[in-house]
Symmetry: C2
DNA sequence: CCTCGATCTGGACTTTGTCTAATTCCCGGA
DNA sequence: TCCGGGAATTAGACAAAGTCCAGATCGAGG
């Protein structure tokens, strides 16, 4: 799958193989994501899909990305500070996030070992390393 | 510092020791965070600080939390999907996030070793482990 | 060609956070 | 005590990202 050509036909099979009904809009959105092999935000997907003329609504883009997520076709990466928690504990530690309840608790840093990070980009410094284990209720 | 009593007077010293001018509002916000030793979101802080009657504006709460963050008094934990990236690569890997530019790139999972995670809470399953290394331009 | 469930749509709405111009606070000097 | 002025605070308008809903449309199977 990794080396396939990213054609719209192949997107249709990809969707079907993930138990997703391949509609025009879903195929376009999948094509936008996979042909670029980049991390895209919802509005970037919107922009790409509607380049020529408006074809796909905002609601559909959001619904489709959520569907792809459920079906394991894409991963979600949360990076931007929008809904943020402020933690008075500044000692090194990591976090366990219960998706259902929104509860956030600590994981002792001693339990986590991270090594061999690649060199940082030129002129960059580490602002923080955040390990967030996301858990939810089974089923 | 870890075992001090969380009085408003102590908050004032704590703020001064972090080079923060201790105003009424800042003391109340620090007290809310530290006396609870919990992860609080901005609107939770708002609610706590304005329990009796409205005393502190939204802008001040946000400004103050940002100030505390800069001065290293609190940490920021990003957990909730608000600004999200969708990643077509579902193979195990982690992420390098450049705060300034918003650019997001991959770190091969082979370069990162995470071990000794604690047992999950009863009835919980892992939804994902996200290691996000946040970097920014020096100075 | 029809039907009907699945999908899609525009647009109103919510949430979280930012911005700004005006006001208030408070400290240090006279 | 009074005053000046910079720091801090405020209300409220605004912005960005995402959700929701009722109606319109699509398209596969009969």
């Amino acid at each position: 799958m990794a080396f396939m050509h990213y054609t719209r036909d192949n997107m249709a099979s990809l969707l079907r193989s993930h138990d997703i009904n391949p509609t025009h809009q879903r195929i376009e959105i999948a094509y936008a994501l996979f042909s670029r092999q980049e991390h895209l935000s919802a509005d970037q997907v919107m922009a790409i899909v509607n380049t020529r003329h408006s074809e796909t609504s905002k609601a559909t883009v959001y619904n489709t990305l959520k569907l792809f997520l459920e079906k394991g076709l894409v991963r979600e990466v949360i990076v931007d500070p929008s809904k943020v928690f402020y933690d008075p504990n500044t000692r090194p530690h990591h976090h366990l996030y219960e998706v259902d309840s929104g509860r956030l608790s600590d994981i002792d840093a001693a339990h986590v070992r991270i090594s061999g990070l690649p060199a940082l980009p030129e002129g960059m410094v580490t602002e923080g390393i955040d390990l967030i284990v996301r858990v939810r209720r089974a089923q």
